[in-house]
Protein backbone atom coordinates (compact mmCIF):
# COMPACT_ATOMS: atom_id res chain seq x y z
CA UNK A 1 0.00 0.00 0.00
CA UNK A 2 2.79 2.34 0.93
CA UNK A 3 4.62 1.60 -2.34
CA UNK A 4 1.38 2.26 -4.18
CA UNK A 5 1.09 5.68 -2.56
CA UNK A 6 4.69 6.52 -3.33
CA UNK A 7 4.09 5.58 -6.95
CA UNK A 8 1.03 7.81 -7.07
CA UNK A 9 3.05 10.69 -5.67
CA UNK A 10 5.78 10.17 -8.21
CA UNK A 11 3.35 10.08 -11.11
CA UNK A 12 1.91 13.36 -9.89
CA UNK A 13 5.41 14.82 -9.61
CA UNK A 14 6.28 13.90 -13.20
CA UNK A 15 3.13 15.51 -14.52
CA UNK A 16 3.74 18.50 -12.25
CA UNK A 17 7.32 19.18 -13.32
CA UNK A 18 6.60 20.53 -16.78
CA UNK A 19 5.03 23.97 -16.95
CA UNK A 20 4.68 26.60 -19.64
CA UNK A 21 8.30 27.72 -19.11
CA UNK A 22 9.65 24.23 -19.75
CA UNK A 23 7.40 23.80 -22.79
CA UNK A 24 8.50 27.06 -24.35
CA UNK A 25 12.22 26.85 -23.58
CA UNK A 26 12.72 23.17 -24.39
CA UNK A 27 10.93 23.23 -27.72
CA UNK A 28 12.48 26.58 -28.74
CA UNK A 29 15.94 25.36 -27.75
CA UNK A 30 15.39 22.27 -29.93
CA UNK A 31 14.13 24.40 -32.82
CA UNK A 32 17.13 26.70 -32.59
CA UNK A 33 20.04 24.45 -31.64
CA UNK A 34 18.81 20.91 -32.31
CA UNK A 35 19.93 18.50 -29.62
CA UNK A 36 22.98 20.51 -28.54
CA UNK A 37 21.50 21.80 -25.30
CA UNK A 38 20.27 18.50 -23.84
CA UNK A 39 23.17 18.51 -21.36
CA UNK A 40 21.90 21.78 -19.87
CA UNK A 41 18.59 20.09 -18.99
CA UNK A 42 20.55 17.43 -17.08
CA UNK A 43 22.31 20.13 -15.06
CA UNK A 44 19.02 21.89 -14.35
CA UNK A 45 17.24 18.71 -13.27
CA UNK A 46 20.04 17.67 -10.91
CA UNK A 47 19.95 21.20 -9.45
CA UNK A 48 16.22 21.19 -8.73
CA UNK A 49 16.52 17.67 -7.32
CA UNK A 50 19.31 18.68 -4.91
CA UNK A 51 17.49 21.75 -3.64
CA UNK A 52 14.07 20.15 -3.47
CA UNK A 53 15.45 17.29 -1.41
CA UNK A 54 17.11 19.86 0.87
CA UNK A 55 13.93 21.95 1.22
CA UNK A 56 11.88 18.82 1.90
CA UNK A 57 14.36 17.69 4.55
CA UNK A 58 14.40 21.12 6.22
CA UNK A 59 10.59 21.11 6.21
CA UNK A 60 10.41 17.59 7.66
CA UNK A 61 12.97 18.07 10.42
CA UNK A 62 12.59 21.73 11.45
CA UNK A 63 9.05 22.51 10.26
CA UNK A 64 10.38 25.57 8.43
CA UNK A 65 9.21 26.36 4.90
CA UNK A 66 11.34 28.36 2.46
CA UNK A 67 10.20 31.84 3.47
CA UNK A 68 10.50 31.02 7.18
CA UNK A 69 14.14 30.26 6.42
CA UNK A 70 14.57 33.38 4.30
CA UNK A 71 13.19 35.64 7.02
CA UNK A 72 15.23 34.18 9.88
CA UNK A 73 18.53 33.98 8.01
CA UNK A 74 18.65 37.27 6.11
CA UNK A 75 16.41 39.36 8.38
CA UNK A 76 13.48 41.63 7.69
CA UNK A 77 15.10 44.06 5.27
CA UNK A 78 16.87 41.76 2.79
CA UNK A 79 14.05 39.25 3.28
CA UNK A 80 11.54 41.86 2.19
CA UNK A 81 13.59 42.37 -0.97
CA UNK A 82 13.52 38.63 -1.61
CA UNK A 83 9.78 38.56 -0.95
CA UNK A 84 8.96 41.39 -3.33
CA UNK A 85 11.09 40.00 -6.16
CA UNK A 86 9.75 36.48 -5.73
CA UNK A 87 6.17 37.78 -5.69
CA UNK A 88 6.69 39.74 -8.90
CA UNK A 89 8.16 36.69 -10.64
CA UNK A 90 5.43 34.45 -9.23
CA UNK A 91 2.72 36.75 -10.51
CA UNK A 92 4.32 36.85 -13.97
CA UNK A 93 4.51 33.06 -14.01
CA UNK A 94 0.94 32.72 -12.80
CA UNK A 95 -0.24 35.10 -15.49
CA UNK A 96 1.62 33.14 -18.17
CA UNK A 97 0.22 29.82 -16.95
CA UNK A 98 -3.36 31.13 -16.93
CA UNK A 99 -2.85 32.52 -20.44
CA UNK A 100 -1.57 29.07 -21.41
CA UNK A 101 -4.69 27.42 -19.97
CA UNK A 102 -6.88 29.76 -22.02
CA UNK A 103 -4.88 29.08 -25.20
CA UNK A 104 -5.26 25.31 -24.72
CA UNK A 105 -8.98 25.68 -24.14
CA UNK A 106 -9.21 27.81 -27.26
CA UNK A 107 -7.36 25.24 -29.38
CA UNK A 108 -9.61 22.52 -28.02
CA UNK A 109 -12.93 24.38 -28.29
CA UNK A 110 -12.51 27.18 -30.82
CA UNK A 111 -14.30 29.67 -28.54
CA UNK A 112 -13.01 33.28 -28.17
CA UNK A 113 -9.79 33.64 -26.13
CA UNK A 114 -11.01 36.32 -23.71
CA UNK A 115 -14.09 34.40 -22.66
CA UNK A 116 -11.89 31.43 -22.02
CA UNK A 117 -9.57 33.46 -19.78
CA UNK A 118 -12.52 34.31 -17.56
CA UNK A 119 -13.71 30.71 -17.72
CA UNK A 120 -10.23 29.44 -16.81
CA UNK A 121 -10.06 31.81 -13.83
CA UNK A 122 -13.49 30.80 -12.59
CA UNK A 123 -12.70 27.11 -13.08
CA UNK A 124 -9.47 27.46 -11.09
CA UNK A 125 -11.29 29.09 -8.16
CA UNK A 126 -13.99 26.43 -8.14
CA UNK A 127 -11.53 23.54 -8.40
CA UNK A 128 -9.35 24.94 -5.62
CA UNK A 129 -12.32 25.75 -3.41
CA UNK A 130 -14.24 22.48 -3.66
CA UNK A 131 -11.59 19.82 -4.28
CA UNK A 132 -9.51 18.24 -1.53
CA UNK A 133 -5.90 19.10 -2.07
CA UNK A 134 -4.40 15.68 -2.44
CA UNK A 135 -6.86 15.26 -5.29
CA UNK A 136 -5.87 18.48 -6.97
CA UNK A 137 -2.30 17.29 -7.09
CA UNK A 138 -3.31 13.91 -8.47
CA UNK A 139 -5.83 15.11 -11.05
CA UNK A 140 -3.45 17.62 -12.59
CA UNK A 141 -0.41 15.40 -12.17
CA UNK A 142 -2.03 12.43 -13.92
CA UNK A 143 -3.58 14.64 -16.60
CA UNK A 144 -0.11 16.07 -17.20
CA UNK A 145 1.11 12.54 -17.91
CA UNK A 146 -0.58 12.88 -21.33
CA UNK A 147 2.56 14.85 -22.15
CA UNK A 148 4.29 11.47 -22.44
CA UNK A 149 2.86 11.55 -25.96
CA UNK A 150 5.88 13.74 -26.74
CA UNK A 151 8.18 10.86 -25.81
CA UNK A 152 6.38 8.65 -28.31
CA UNK A 153 6.50 11.46 -30.86
CA UNK A 154 10.23 11.89 -30.29
CA UNK A 155 10.82 8.22 -31.13
CA UNK A 156 8.44 8.24 -34.10
CA UNK A 157 10.22 11.23 -35.62
CA UNK A 158 13.34 9.05 -35.94
CA UNK A 159 15.88 11.64 -34.80
CA UNK A 160 19.53 10.87 -35.51
CA UNK A 161 20.21 9.17 -32.16
CA UNK A 162 23.95 9.72 -32.48
CA UNK A 163 23.39 13.47 -32.53
CA UNK A 164 20.93 13.18 -29.64
CA UNK A 165 23.53 11.27 -27.61
CA UNK A 166 26.17 13.85 -28.47
CA UNK A 167 23.80 16.49 -27.06
CA UNK A 168 24.37 15.13 -23.58
CA UNK A 169 28.06 16.01 -23.88
CA UNK A 170 28.60 19.74 -23.28
CA UNK A 171 29.64 21.33 -26.56
CA UNK A 172 28.86 24.42 -28.60
CA UNK A 173 28.65 24.41 -32.35
CA UNK A 174 27.10 27.69 -33.43
CA UNK A 175 27.69 31.09 -34.97
CA UNK A 176 25.81 32.82 -32.17
CA UNK A 177 27.31 31.96 -28.78
CA UNK A 178 25.23 34.65 -27.06
CA UNK A 179 21.98 33.06 -28.18
CA UNK A 180 23.32 29.68 -27.09
CA UNK A 181 24.10 31.13 -23.65
CA UNK A 182 20.65 32.75 -23.48
CA UNK A 183 18.96 29.43 -24.12
CA UNK A 184 21.23 27.67 -21.63
CA UNK A 185 20.28 30.19 -18.95
CA UNK A 186 16.60 29.94 -19.89
CA UNK A 187 16.63 26.14 -19.71
CA UNK A 188 18.29 26.22 -16.29
CA UNK A 189 15.85 28.88 -15.10
CA UNK A 190 12.87 26.89 -16.37
CA UNK A 191 14.07 23.67 -14.71
CA UNK A 192 14.93 25.33 -11.39
CA UNK A 193 11.93 27.69 -11.17
CA UNK A 194 11.75 28.81 -7.53
CA UNK A 195 8.00 28.31 -7.15
CA UNK A 196 8.60 24.56 -7.31
CA UNK A 197 10.59 24.63 -4.07
CA UNK A 198 8.23 27.11 -2.37
CA UNK A 199 5.36 24.79 -3.10
CA UNK A 200 7.22 21.60 -2.30
CA UNK A 201 8.57 22.75 1.07
CA UNK A 202 5.27 24.30 2.16
CA UNK A 203 3.52 21.07 1.19
CA UNK A 204 5.96 19.11 3.35
CA UNK A 205 5.18 21.31 6.35
CA UNK A 206 1.45 21.05 5.69
CA UNK A 207 1.49 17.29 5.47
CA UNK A 208 3.38 17.29 8.77
CA UNK A 209 6.35 15.41 7.43
CA UNK A 210 8.76 14.20 10.06
CA UNK A 211 12.12 12.41 9.93
CA UNK A 212 10.28 9.18 9.01
CA UNK A 213 9.26 10.77 5.71
CA UNK A 214 12.81 11.59 4.64
CA UNK A 215 13.03 8.46 2.48
CA UNK A 216 9.84 9.41 0.69
CA UNK A 217 11.20 12.92 0.25
CA UNK A 218 14.37 11.64 -1.38
CA UNK A 219 12.53 9.23 -3.69
CA UNK A 220 10.02 11.91 -4.67
CA UNK A 221 12.75 14.41 -5.50
CA UNK A 222 15.03 12.04 -7.41
CA UNK A 223 12.50 10.01 -9.39
CA UNK A 224 9.85 12.71 -9.79
CA UNK A 225 12.21 15.35 -11.12
CA UNK A 226 14.34 12.80 -12.93
CA UNK A 227 11.40 11.58 -14.99
CA UNK A 228 10.17 15.15 -15.35
CA UNK A 229 13.56 15.83 -16.93
CA UNK A 230 12.88 12.92 -19.28
CA UNK A 231 9.81 14.80 -20.55
CA UNK A 232 12.01 17.85 -21.11
CA UNK A 233 14.38 15.77 -23.24
CA UNK A 234 11.43 14.54 -25.30
CA UNK A 235 10.21 18.09 -25.88
CA UNK A 236 13.63 19.27 -27.00
CA UNK A 237 14.14 16.28 -29.29
CA UNK A 238 10.74 16.88 -30.89
CA UNK A 239 11.64 20.55 -31.30
CA UNK A 240 14.93 19.61 -32.91
CA UNK A 241 13.62 16.87 -35.17
CA UNK A 242 10.66 18.84 -36.43
CA UNK A 243 11.51 22.53 -36.37
CA UNK A 244 15.31 22.82 -36.66
CA UNK A 245 16.27 24.63 -39.84
CA UNK A 246 12.62 25.09 -40.82
CA UNK A 247 12.60 28.73 -39.75
CA UNK A 248 9.72 27.87 -37.42
CA UNK A 249 9.92 29.50 -34.02
CA UNK A 250 7.47 27.77 -31.68
CA UNK A 251 5.98 31.01 -30.51
CA UNK A 252 2.54 29.54 -29.99
CA UNK A 253 1.50 26.68 -27.76
CA UNK A 254 -0.30 25.31 -30.80
CA UNK A 255 3.03 24.93 -32.58
CA UNK A 256 4.31 22.88 -29.66
CA UNK A 257 1.29 20.58 -29.88
CA UNK A 258 2.03 20.24 -33.59
CA UNK A 259 5.12 18.36 -32.49
CA UNK A 260 2.88 15.46 -31.51
CA UNK A 261 0.42 15.83 -34.40
CA UNK A 262 2.96 15.49 -37.21
CA UNK A 263 4.14 11.99 -36.25
CA UNK A 264 0.97 10.73 -34.53
CA UNK A 265 -1.98 12.48 -36.16
CA UNK A 266 -5.17 13.73 -34.51
CA UNK A 267 -4.86 11.55 -31.42
CA UNK A 268 -1.34 12.89 -30.86
CA UNK A 269 -2.58 16.46 -31.10
CA UNK A 270 -5.43 15.79 -28.70
CA UNK A 271 -3.21 14.09 -26.11
CA UNK A 272 -0.65 16.87 -26.39
CA UNK A 273 -3.26 19.59 -25.86
CA UNK A 274 -4.87 17.78 -22.93
CA UNK A 275 -1.43 17.15 -21.40
CA UNK A 276 -0.45 20.80 -21.80
CA UNK A 277 -3.82 21.90 -20.40
CA UNK A 278 -3.45 19.82 -17.24
CA UNK A 279 0.25 20.53 -16.75
CA UNK A 280 -0.22 24.27 -17.15
CA UNK A 281 -3.37 24.37 -14.95
CA UNK A 282 -1.52 22.44 -12.24
CA UNK A 283 1.37 24.88 -12.47
CA UNK A 284 -1.08 27.79 -12.24
CA UNK A 285 -2.40 26.38 -8.95
CA UNK A 286 1.14 25.80 -7.65
CA UNK A 287 2.24 29.36 -8.43
CA UNK A 288 -1.00 30.77 -7.04
CA UNK A 289 -0.41 29.08 -3.70
CA UNK A 290 3.31 29.78 -3.70
CA UNK A 291 2.56 33.50 -3.73
CA UNK A 292 0.23 33.15 -0.75
CA UNK A 293 2.63 30.83 1.10
CA UNK A 294 5.52 33.23 0.73
CA UNK A 295 3.67 36.29 1.99
CA UNK A 296 2.11 34.43 4.92
CA UNK A 297 5.39 32.80 5.92
CA UNK A 298 7.30 36.05 5.73
CA UNK A 299 4.78 37.89 7.91
CA UNK A 300 3.93 35.00 10.24
CA UNK A 301 0.27 34.65 9.25
CA UNK A 302 -1.60 31.41 9.52
CA UNK A 303 -1.35 29.55 6.21
CA UNK A 304 -2.21 26.27 4.58
CA UNK A 305 -4.34 24.46 2.07
CA UNK A 306 -5.32 21.85 4.62
CA UNK A 307 -6.68 24.43 7.02
CA UNK A 308 -9.98 25.35 5.54
CA UNK A 309 -10.21 28.89 4.23
CA UNK A 310 -11.69 30.09 7.55
CA UNK A 311 -8.69 28.69 9.39
CA UNK A 312 -6.31 30.89 7.39
CA UNK A 313 -8.29 33.96 6.26
CA UNK A 314 -5.45 36.25 5.18
CA UNK A 315 -3.80 33.42 3.28
CA UNK A 316 -7.08 32.76 1.46
CA UNK A 317 -7.58 36.43 0.64
CA UNK A 318 -4.00 36.60 -0.65
CA UNK A 319 -4.43 33.88 -3.23
CA UNK A 320 -7.82 35.24 -4.30
CA UNK A 321 -6.26 38.68 -4.83
CA UNK A 322 -3.29 37.20 -6.72
CA UNK A 323 -5.65 35.32 -9.02
CA UNK A 324 -7.68 38.45 -9.75
CA UNK A 325 -4.48 40.42 -10.47
CA UNK A 326 -3.19 37.73 -12.82
CA UNK A 327 -6.53 37.52 -14.65
CA UNK A 328 -6.51 41.29 -15.05
CA UNK A 329 -3.06 41.13 -16.65
CA UNK A 330 -3.98 38.27 -19.03
CA UNK A 331 -7.10 40.14 -20.10
CA UNK A 332 -4.96 43.07 -21.30
CA UNK A 333 -4.01 40.73 -24.14
CA UNK A 334 -0.36 40.24 -23.19
CA UNK A 335 1.18 37.26 -25.03
CA UNK A 336 1.56 34.42 -22.51
CA UNK A 337 4.48 32.79 -24.32
CA UNK A 338 6.43 36.05 -24.47
CA UNK A 339 5.60 36.66 -20.80
CA UNK A 340 6.87 33.18 -19.97
CA UNK A 341 10.28 34.04 -21.33
CA UNK A 342 10.47 37.15 -19.18
CA UNK A 343 9.20 35.25 -16.13
CA UNK A 344 11.82 32.51 -16.50
CA UNK A 345 14.65 34.99 -17.02
CA UNK A 346 13.63 37.17 -14.05
CA UNK A 347 13.15 34.12 -11.87
CA UNK A 348 16.80 33.26 -12.50
CA UNK A 349 17.64 36.54 -10.76
CA UNK A 350 15.51 35.64 -7.72
CA UNK A 351 17.11 32.20 -7.33
CA UNK A 352 20.05 33.01 -5.01
CA UNK A 353 17.91 34.67 -2.34
CA UNK A 354 15.73 31.56 -2.29
CA UNK A 355 18.44 28.94 -2.20
CA UNK A 356 21.09 30.52 0.06
CA UNK A 357 18.90 30.61 3.21
CA UNK A 358 17.88 26.99 2.61
CA UNK A 359 21.50 25.90 2.32
CA UNK A 360 22.26 27.75 5.58
CA UNK A 361 19.41 26.18 7.54
CA UNK A 362 20.14 22.73 6.10
CA UNK A 363 23.61 23.08 7.65
CA UNK A 364 22.44 24.26 11.06
CA UNK A 365 22.77 21.48 13.58
CA UNK A 366 20.57 23.30 16.10
CA UNK A 367 17.55 22.65 13.90
CA UNK A 368 18.63 19.77 11.67
CA UNK A 369 20.30 17.53 14.27
CA UNK A 370 21.53 14.30 12.66
CA UNK A 371 19.76 15.24 9.42
CA UNK A 372 22.12 18.15 8.74
CA UNK A 373 23.48 18.28 5.18
CA UNK A 374 26.00 15.57 4.47
CA UNK A 375 29.05 16.03 2.29
CA UNK A 376 27.34 15.16 -1.01
CA UNK A 377 24.45 17.55 -0.39
CA UNK A 378 26.87 20.31 0.52
CA UNK A 379 29.25 19.83 -2.39
CA UNK A 380 26.31 19.82 -4.81
CA UNK A 381 24.58 22.62 -2.91
CA UNK A 382 27.59 24.93 -3.12
CA UNK A 383 28.31 23.94 -6.73
CA UNK A 384 24.76 24.84 -7.70
CA UNK A 385 24.96 28.05 -5.73
CA UNK A 386 27.82 29.03 -8.05
CA UNK A 387 25.75 28.02 -11.10
CA UNK A 388 22.79 30.00 -9.75
CA UNK A 389 24.94 33.07 -9.13
CA UNK A 390 26.27 32.92 -12.69
CA UNK A 391 22.78 32.67 -14.18
CA UNK A 392 21.44 35.37 -11.87
CA UNK A 393 24.16 37.76 -13.03
CA UNK A 394 24.03 36.91 -16.74
CA UNK A 395 20.29 36.35 -17.30
CA UNK A 396 19.18 39.93 -17.86
CA UNK A 397 22.27 41.06 -19.84
CA UNK A 398 21.80 38.04 -22.14
CA UNK A 399 18.12 38.79 -22.53
CA UNK A 400 18.95 42.34 -23.64
CA UNK A 401 21.87 41.34 -25.89
CA UNK A 402 19.85 38.68 -27.72
CA UNK A 403 16.66 40.75 -27.84
CA UNK A 404 14.82 38.08 -25.79
CA UNK A 405 16.22 35.27 -27.93
CA UNK A 406 15.07 36.82 -31.21
CA UNK A 407 18.34 37.28 -33.11
Amino acid sequence: MKIFQVALGILAAIGGFVDIGDLVFNVSAGATFGYQLLWVVVIGVVGITVYSEMCGRVAAVSGKAVFDAVRERVGFKAGLGALVSSQVVNLMTLTAEIGGVAICLQLLSGLPYRWLIVLAGAALVVVVWVTAFEWIERIFGYGGLCLLVFAVAAVKLHPPWGAVGHGFVPHMHTQSPLLYAYFAVGLLGAAMTPYEVYFYSSGGVEERWGPKDLGLNKVNAIIGYGLGGFLSFALMIVGGALFLGQGVEPEFLGTIALGAEVPLGQIGLLLALVGILFAVSGAAIDTLFSGAYNLAQFLGWEWGRYRHPRGAPRFTVTWLVLLVLALGVVLTGVDPVQLTEYAVIFSAVALPLTYIPILLVANDRTYMREYTNGRIANVLGVLYLVVIMVIALTAIPLMILTNVGQN
Binding site: E72, G79, L299, R310, P313
Partner: protein, 116 residues
Protein backbone atom coordinates in the same frame (compact mmCIF):
# COMPACT_ATOMS: atom_id res chain seq x y z
CA UNK B 1 23.74 22.45 31.82
CA UNK B 2 22.64 25.88 30.78
CA UNK B 3 21.48 26.30 27.23
CA UNK B 4 22.97 29.20 25.33
CA UNK B 5 21.25 30.83 22.35
CA UNK B 6 22.10 33.62 19.97
CA UNK B 7 19.18 36.03 20.19
CA UNK B 8 19.59 37.35 16.63
CA UNK B 9 19.91 33.90 15.09
CA UNK B 10 17.64 31.76 17.22
CA UNK B 11 14.83 34.08 18.32
CA UNK B 12 14.56 37.19 16.14
CA UNK B 13 12.46 36.74 12.98
CA UNK B 14 11.17 33.33 14.05
CA UNK B 15 7.58 32.14 13.82
CA UNK B 16 5.30 32.65 16.83
CA UNK B 17 2.97 29.76 17.69
CA UNK B 18 0.24 30.12 20.28
CA UNK B 19 -0.85 27.51 22.83
CA UNK B 20 -2.97 25.83 20.14
CA UNK B 21 -0.11 25.84 17.60
CA UNK B 22 -1.77 28.58 15.61
CA UNK B 23 0.68 30.76 13.67
CA UNK B 24 0.26 34.26 15.06
CA UNK B 25 3.07 36.52 13.84
CA UNK B 26 6.84 36.72 13.82
CA UNK B 27 9.32 37.88 16.42
CA UNK B 28 9.71 41.27 14.76
CA UNK B 29 11.93 42.77 17.47
CA UNK B 30 13.26 42.13 20.96
CA UNK B 31 13.05 44.37 24.03
CA UNK B 32 16.16 44.26 26.23
CA UNK B 33 16.61 45.86 29.63
CA UNK B 34 19.80 46.71 31.46
CA UNK B 35 22.96 48.70 30.77
CA UNK B 36 26.70 48.42 31.25
CA UNK B 37 27.51 47.19 34.74
CA UNK B 38 24.06 45.67 35.11
CA UNK B 39 22.47 42.45 33.97
CA UNK B 40 21.19 42.70 30.35
CA UNK B 41 17.93 40.80 30.09
CA UNK B 42 15.54 39.97 27.27
CA UNK B 43 12.21 41.13 28.72
CA UNK B 44 9.76 40.97 25.82
CA UNK B 45 9.07 40.09 22.22
CA UNK B 46 7.67 42.79 19.95
CA UNK B 47 5.44 41.81 17.03
CA UNK B 48 3.36 43.58 14.42
CA UNK B 49 3.60 46.01 11.51
CA UNK B 50 4.39 48.90 13.86
CA UNK B 51 7.76 47.30 14.55
CA UNK B 52 8.75 46.99 10.87
CA UNK B 53 9.31 50.73 10.49
CA UNK B 54 12.48 50.45 12.54
CA UNK B 55 13.84 47.54 10.54
CA UNK B 56 14.04 48.45 6.87
CA UNK B 57 14.29 52.23 6.44
CA UNK B 58 11.85 53.79 4.02
CA UNK B 59 10.59 50.46 2.70
CA UNK B 60 9.99 49.31 6.26
CA UNK B 61 7.97 52.43 6.97
CA UNK B 62 5.92 51.82 3.84
CA UNK B 63 5.32 48.19 4.82
CA UNK B 64 4.42 49.29 8.33
CA UNK B 65 1.92 51.84 7.01
CA UNK B 66 0.40 49.26 4.67
CA UNK B 67 0.10 46.83 7.56
CA UNK B 68 -1.77 49.32 9.72
CA UNK B 69 1.04 50.04 12.17
CA UNK B 70 -0.18 47.96 15.10
CA UNK B 71 2.28 46.43 17.55
CA UNK B 72 2.06 43.94 20.35
CA UNK B 73 4.38 43.44 23.30
CA UNK B 74 4.60 39.91 24.65
CA UNK B 75 6.38 39.63 28.00
CA UNK B 76 9.01 36.89 27.96
CA UNK B 77 7.13 35.11 30.75
CA UNK B 78 4.53 34.14 28.12
CA UNK B 79 7.12 32.18 26.12
CA UNK B 80 6.82 28.45 26.71
CA UNK B 81 9.59 27.14 24.52
CA UNK B 82 12.19 28.25 21.98
CA UNK B 83 12.83 25.64 19.30
CA UNK B 84 12.39 25.83 15.54
CA UNK B 85 9.58 28.25 16.36
CA UNK B 86 8.81 30.34 19.42
CA UNK B 87 5.91 28.75 21.29
CA UNK B 88 3.69 30.81 23.58
CA UNK B 89 1.77 29.76 26.71
CA UNK B 90 -1.54 31.41 25.88
CA UNK B 91 -3.90 31.63 22.95
CA UNK B 92 -3.27 34.29 20.32
CA UNK B 93 -6.41 36.28 21.22
CA UNK B 94 -5.39 36.55 24.88
CA UNK B 95 -2.06 38.02 23.82
CA UNK B 96 -3.51 40.35 21.18
CA UNK B 97 -1.89 38.43 18.33
CA UNK B 98 -3.30 37.20 14.99
CA UNK B 99 -5.91 39.95 14.96
CA UNK B 100 -5.57 40.45 11.20
CA UNK B 101 -6.76 36.89 10.60
CA UNK B 102 -9.56 37.29 13.15
CA UNK B 103 -10.79 40.49 11.49
CA UNK B 104 -10.82 38.87 8.05
CA UNK B 105 -12.55 35.65 9.15
CA UNK B 106 -16.19 36.84 9.16
CA UNK B 107 -15.91 37.88 5.49
CA UNK B 108 -14.36 34.59 4.42
CA UNK B 109 -16.97 32.64 6.36
CA UNK B 110 -19.72 34.16 4.20
CA UNK B 111 -18.41 32.26 1.17
CA UNK B 112 -20.05 28.83 0.90
CA UNK B 113 -17.67 25.97 1.59
CA UNK B 114 -15.18 28.04 3.59
CA UNK B 115 -15.21 25.65 6.54
CA UNK B 116 -15.16 22.47 4.55
Amino acid sequence: MSRSIDLGLNVLDHQLLDAEERRCGKVDDLALEGGPGEQLELVAILAGPGVWRTRAGLVGRLASWLGGGGRTRIPWEEVAHVGSHVSLRKRAQELGLGRGDDRMRPYIEKIPGADR
